[in-house]
Every structure is written in structure tokens, then in C-alpha cells.
Symmetry: C2
């Protein structure tokens, strides 16, 4: 049996999404067949209109309705600290802590030679340019603690030191045991970082 | 930080899908931000157009472009056997075996009192009506071997015997070990069914 064209077309679109395989795409499509048409219209318009009212901030490369983005425009934020992250979603996670009031710089990914992603594919070279004539005193390197994230942080450190000397303080987000963790089940790499990163109590 | 309206709108739509939580919805939305607009348009149109060219077959309740569906219209298929399944996707699975050439009857779910789904919410009462003046000689009950699927199969058995006597042969899909399984790891319920369902060799 061949599936109806309209159904196959949606399965094809859903299959392209990361983490959604052919079976899940089928399941979601047949679920949507039971959803009212008005909801399908809302969903469809949300998809096609996604990028119509969003811009990439020319300063920090965050995604926002304003250009520059609402964070870069907010003069009440601390203009002397920049937190470097991989993705716009990381901003959301950090903002939720309410512990950071500085600016951001979105790299748009990490250096990943296996997937042909070098510094030029990311917003890396824009960072020293942005720092040059600014009031920034500290750059927090908050790429993920993965192999690629660490390599990117090291690359940024070298680049900033090369271009701007050591005038700007570079820090790396803290490493150690996450809240609620169990020492017994922690992996060796995490425990090592937790010991190295111990603080006076 | 508040997310842009267009982004939040798509997250809201994706979150409603089964098996997609708020985090996955965020991740998918930010992934789609990097997808070309033409692809977003294709996706959006596939969503809103999903139900525009598909009909529910008035005979077997399958979803298809034709009405009645292509299976019901195909006179070369065996008109004396009907396979009763839960969902249209089950037809796809059975057709793939190429071992069944009869007709189908889609229930649209299973009897599930905990979720307020009784026989009247499904296409159950339509089945004896369909069988009454037909050439059907056998009904294969192919609901899933779950608690609800078994209960639905039993309900159908009782209903058909009540309305049509024992003129129609009722069968249940075979139970036992799936291909590639390991006896050692099989659960007791499956092994019990495999012993009960043993066949001469």
C-alpha cells in the first residue's frame, strides 16, 4: 500500500528533523490527522513564519525580534562582562539562573573538524573585533564541557591573547559535580574536575 | 529573557505533539531557524494541507486519497477475509509482509476505560453491520497483544457471536516469540503464549 501524497509529504518533512526517525515521523503524522484543522493551520503558519520576524543580532548573534537584540540594547546590563556560548538556547538557560547580568556572544556552534566546522564557520573572529574598542574586562568562556567545547575554549583563549594581549580577564565556567549528583556514580573525569576546582569552605 | 513571539509560537505547537517535551520543542525550533525558508514553506504547507486531500474510508475507516479507499476499491483482493486492526499504520505493517490479501477494518483505537474510550468512541459497532450482508467468512482479530488490545478482541468476539452467531470464523493473530528473540530473556507471559501456541513440526 502506498501512503497518500499529503501524508507522505509531512512524513518526509518531519523525518528531516534531528532525532526524529521514520517511525516517529509516521506516528506524529497519523497523530496530526486527528487534530482539528485550525490547530494544523496555526502549526503550519508557525513553521513557515518562524524566520519572518526574527533577526540575528549583528553584535552578539543572538536570535531576536529586535536588531540589535533586546539584551544588547539594554543599557542597564553590565557592559564589562561577555559570556561566550555555543547556541542562542544557552542564553535562555543562563538567564534562568538570574545570576548573570552581562552581555553574550553566540558562536553558533563549536569547532568540529570531523564535521568540517572550523573557526570561519562560526562567529569566532568577530569576538576580538568586538572586544577591541569596548569596556569589556572579563570574558566568560561558557562553551559546553565536551571535547569540542573545550577545544573551542582553548582556541578562543589563544586568539584573544594573540590579538589583545592579557588586558582582558578570561574565565571558564566551573566544572564539578552537578547539584543532586552522587559521588559514587560520578565518572572519573567529572570527579577529577571537581577536585581540581575545589574552593575554600 | 523572553523568546521572540514567532519562536515561542512554534515551540508551543511542537510541544503539543506526543512524545515531544518542552526541551525537544526548543531544540527543534532552533534547529529550524537554520533551515532555508523554502524548506520551512514546504514543511508548513505539508502541515496545513495534511487533511485537505485525505479522507476516511466510509467502509473500513482507513485514511486514503480515494473514497472508498484504494484497498476497499480493489476487487482483486480477497473479499472473504477482514483483518481488524487498531490504527491505519497497522495496515502499512501488515501490507509489508505481503502475506495478506484481504480487507481491513480500522477500529481507531482500543477500548480503554481509564481514558474514557468505550466501544462507541471506536468503529466497533460498524463491524457487525459490515459483516452482515457480506461474503466475509473469516475475521482476523489483530489488535495489539496488550491488555486493552486483548479486551477489545474479546469484546469483538462476544459482539459478533451475539449479532451473527457462529457463521463467521474468528481468529486471533499468533502469539509467541518474535523472530530473533532469545528464550533466556523472554518474559513469562510471552513464553506461556509460545507454549500454548506451539504447532506441529
Amino acid at each position: 500500500m502506498k501512503l497518500p501524497v499529503a501524508i507522505q509529504r509531512l512524513i518526509n518533512s518531519l523525518e528531516k528533523l534531528p532525532g526524529i526517525g521514520p517511525k516517529t515521523a509516521q506516528r506524529l503524522t497519523f497523530y496530526l490527522l486527528n487534530v482539528p484543522q485550525t490547530e494544523l493551520d496555526t502549526f503550519g503558519q508557525a513553521v513557515s513564519g518562524l524566520k519572518k520576524n526574527t533577526h540575528i543580532c549583528p553584535l552578539c548573534f543572538n536570535v531576536d525580534e529586535l536588531e540589535p537584540c533586546s539584551i544588547c540594547q539594554d543599557r542597564s546590563r553590565n557592559q564589562t562582562v561577555i559570556c561566550v556560548i555555543e547556541q542562542p538556547l544557552d542564553i535562555l538557560a543562563i538567564e534562568k539562573t538570574e545570576a548573570f547580568n552581562g552581555l553574550y556572544h553566540v558562536l553558533g556552534g563549536v569547532i568540529d573538524p570531523l564535521n568540517n566546522i572550523g573557526p570561519d564557520e562560526l562567529h569566532i573572529n568577530e569576538l576580538p573585533l568586538r572586544l577591541k574598542n569596548s569596556q569589556v574586562k572579563e570574558v566568560i568562556l561558557a562553551t559546553n564541557p565536551t571535547m569540542e567545547g573545550e577545544a573551542t575554549a582553548m582556541y578562543l583563549q589563544k586568539l584573544i591573547n594573540e590579538k589583545l594581549g592579557t588586558a582582558i580577564k578570561l574565565t571558564r565556567i566551573g566544572r564539578g559535580l552537578p547539584t543532586g549528583a552522587d559521588l559514587e556514580y560520578a565518572d572519573a573525569a567529572t570527579l577529577l574536575k571537581a577536585l581540581e576546582g575545589r574552593r575554600e569552605y
